[in-house]
């Protein structure tokens, strides 16, 4: 995992825009990085399953749903890789600790652990991309429940189908929050042809005035 990318994303989540942290904040960032590296236990689980796609209707072994955004993302794919990844309970435990006694540290850990799980997923994605390309298959950008009109409700079946609770300790609350909170589930389309990719994740979101929006 690339520390400099994690730091850059952490600052973006903290609202720095183009601003730079001062010396004290830099110290804090480095301390949090060390603490998080000890606390995180990254785990993931994935399955590749066939995809039936009819416009917005998406059917896989794990979930079925209707979503225009996801349909567009998966167009031309015959199967999908579905995965769940988590940084484990460590970051949540640290956040829970520090938000009571040192909230400045809590916000940095909150932002940085979010950046770390994203970076972990990026690393996984790069590995998968290589593996599949060897087989002549190409991956789409990952797309998560809650992005655009991909219903959050699908989390239930995805996590159950992956046995995420038993395998990597990832659970859902009644309001569909993932716990541990620094976790990601996503669908990655697999196609036989290389295709320039449609927008994903942040860029696919319709909230264009978001202060955290990339680029």
């Amino acid at each position: 995992m690339d520390d400099s990318r994690i730091l850059k994303e952490t600052l973006r989540y903290l609202g720095y825009g183009n601003g730079q942290p001062d010396g004290r904040t830099e110290d804090l960032l480095h301390q949090c990085m060390e603490e998080l590296k000890r606390a995180c236990s990254f785990r993931h689980i994935c399955r590749t399953v066939p995809l039936e796609l009819d416009q917005d209707h998406i059917v896989t072994e794990l979930f079925r749903t209707e979503s225009r955004n996801l349909g567009k993302n998966l167009k031309g794919c015959s199967s999908v890789l579905i995965f769940a990844a988590t940084a484990g309970p460590g970051p949540d435990q640290l956040i829970q600790r520090y938000e009571k006694i040192r909230v400045s540290r809590a916000v940095v850990i909150q932002a940085m652990s979010a950046a770390m799980i994203e970076e972990y997923c990026d690393c996984l994605n790069r590995g998968w991309k290589e593996d599949f390309e060897k087989k002549g298959q190409y991956l789409r950008p990952r797309f998560s429940p809650g992005y655009g009109d991909f219903p959050l409700e699908c989390q239930k079946n995805i996590l159950a189908g992956l046995e995420a609770g038993k395998r990597i300790g990832l659970t859902l609350t009644d309001s569909l929050l993932m716990m541990p909170s620094k976790s990601v589930t996503a669908v990655i389309g697999i196609s036989e042809s290389r295709q320039l990719c449609v927008l994903s994740g942040c860029e696919a979101c319709e909230k264009t005035d978001c202060e955290y929006r990339r680029n």
């Binding site: 942290p21 004290r24 916000v107």
Partner: protein, 793 residues
Amino acid sequence: MDIRKELKERILFFDGGMGSLLQERGLKAGELPETWNQKRPEVVTEIHKEYLLAGCDIVTTNTFGANRLKYQDQVPEIVRAAVENARQAVEEAAVLTGKCGYVALDMGPTGKLLKPMGDLDFEEACHIYQEVVIAGTMAGADCILIETMSDGYEAKAAVLAAKENSSLPVFVTMTFDEKGKLLTGGDAVSAVALLESLGVDALGINCGLGPVQMEPVVKEILRTASVPVIVNPNAGLPRSEGGKTVYDIDAAAFAGEMKKLVEAGAAMVGGCCGTTPEHIRQLVTLCSGIKPVPLVKKNRTFVTSWSHAVEIGEDPVIIGERINPTGKSKLKQALRENNITYLLEEGVTQQENGAHILDVNVGLPDIDEPEMMVRTVKELQGVTDLPLQIDTSNIEAMERAMRIYNGKPLINSVNGKQESMEAVFPLVKKYGGVVVALALDEQGIPETADGRIQVARKIYEKAAEYGIEKKDILIDALCLTISSDSRGAITALETLKRVKEELGGQTILGVSNISFGLPQRGIINSVFFSMALQNGLSAAIINPNADGMMQAYYSYRALAGLDPQCGGYIERYGSQAAEKATSLPGEEKSLGECVEKGLRENAVTVVKKLLEQKDPLEIIQEEMIPALDRAGVRFEAGTLYLPQLLMCAEAAKAAFELIKDKMLSRGEVEQKKGKIILATVKGDIHDIGKNIVKVLLENYSYEVIDLGKDVPPEMVVETAEKEQVRLVGLSALMTTTVPSMEETIRQLHQKLPEVKIMVGGAVLTKDYAETIGADCYCKDGMASVKYAESLFS
């Protein structure tokens, strides 16, 4: 035959995987396996029978996920059907083999994380398991297997439910990773200590790993456990092949690896995911002739938290005494004002200073002690991973805290009085724990060590009647202040030595009592502490923030050969001189600068000096508030960022604490501008935004009533009414929880139309906030301060 008895005589075999066999027979992806107990009972029975014919002794019912979260009110029927299927298989197999197998009622995790990390309440978890236990026991199961647990707290809920509702033997297996950790972070030793103290009949490991990867964890468990150990691994590690999960070792290799674990001492073995009747057949063939390794009592004393165990034995441990209102007016005030943050800070400071266990005593005449104890224990376990000492003479407080405690606690205390032992020992037996036993009885505190040793013997004997072992009792040798009893120290020291040497027990002492009534108590305390350590003290209740005490402790360990290469001593004291030097330049700065720059330690140093010359109110008006305002303005202008704003708030808060102390000592009370309720709405368990707002508002002299997270609308309304609050702040992070924010606003407007509501959170916008009826949308923490200022000025 009784399974407990049989366990002593030979290796017992569990069955293997169920899910993949059901899938082979047509269970579809996404279809819940437990439904087949009723839909396809013949298939389930057939699988059980295959395992029995392969030679297993115990079949586990197809009830892994049979709980009310998935099956609502159908749980009893499903469980009954599942037990009947297993029983049917046992009977059919017995005809063929002449051997009668056992039926284990299988219970897996609920699939939800318990509070405070998740949203499942501990008692709710107990109820979920209770339902399964009752149905399974009535249907005729022979034992209960709680399995694939990755959270000790959830395992505790399941074991309590089993013990409270059934007399069947209880077995528990947990899932560890290659590093020997549970998915929730706990280690193997703490899991073993917890489960043994809850009185399980056997414990061990299942799922997650294959037998090869399990070996180190199994050996760790065998070194720690005094009860039989279970090992039910997967058929190696999984990989995905053509969309299917396959495992990497075959039946013969599985059996070969398992043989090593049986020879190392595993007493009950079987398989989990990916294992089949063939795996079990080969396992039984290879291992049924092996004589079980005899069980050895380990006699190790452990207290645990959710993450780790602290061993009390040769190497003395420190119990931080600061969370105890006796003689501490600030703590008393914090308890009366429900100011839990103060207690949490006391806890964290003691941990930073080297405490291994934290004493928790919240007894005050005018508060609801059981309620406060439960809350404090829960909150402390949220911020610290240290084990706690539940310190109370209120039996209700003791029981309720022991019940919800996440781990095996230290209990303070029992004594030699009949009444005390009869009240405390049943709790220790039921909930598990190590208990402090004061060497006194109906006759009072014996004057001599002889007398105290006699009481200790009596306590050990009585505890044994309850099945509590000597290792789980710490004898408090009691020290009376030398200012009134010149032999106070000598008697205590002799008692320590004799408990260790004559009785082979562990000891504890509240060290600082020795100097009560004397000047400069720290001087006497640290010397007496050294003497006590020398005489065999195992656990010391002291103030870890007192340098002299910690110096005595680290020196003793280095001198007594308990600190290899003096590593602990050097780590503690090697770099101290250098640190002091670096903090000096900051002292030149003004208080305002320290606050604005977020230099907390410097702000404290400067305000101390300032308070000697200047009026507290003047300091607030002339230094603190302007600095906070300057930071606020810069934050809004985008030249100062959130971490800096918060460091600034924390520096201010630390300075305010000292200013408040000063005012208190002069009999003045800090004037609050108004009361504000803050809450994270129901369903939402992300609390950080609300906590940011809280710190900022408190710095601007508002009294914040913090209702926490996942707060029901009714509770917000009720508190607003009772406390006559004019402003309520609500936070919600997810689109899924905004509806409960809307509902809270609706109820507030309906019952208390005069109350203003400000809202904030990631998914909210100004428009959205207006739509759901909020009076003010706060895009960040400073916006809430502004709104409050406009409302209350």
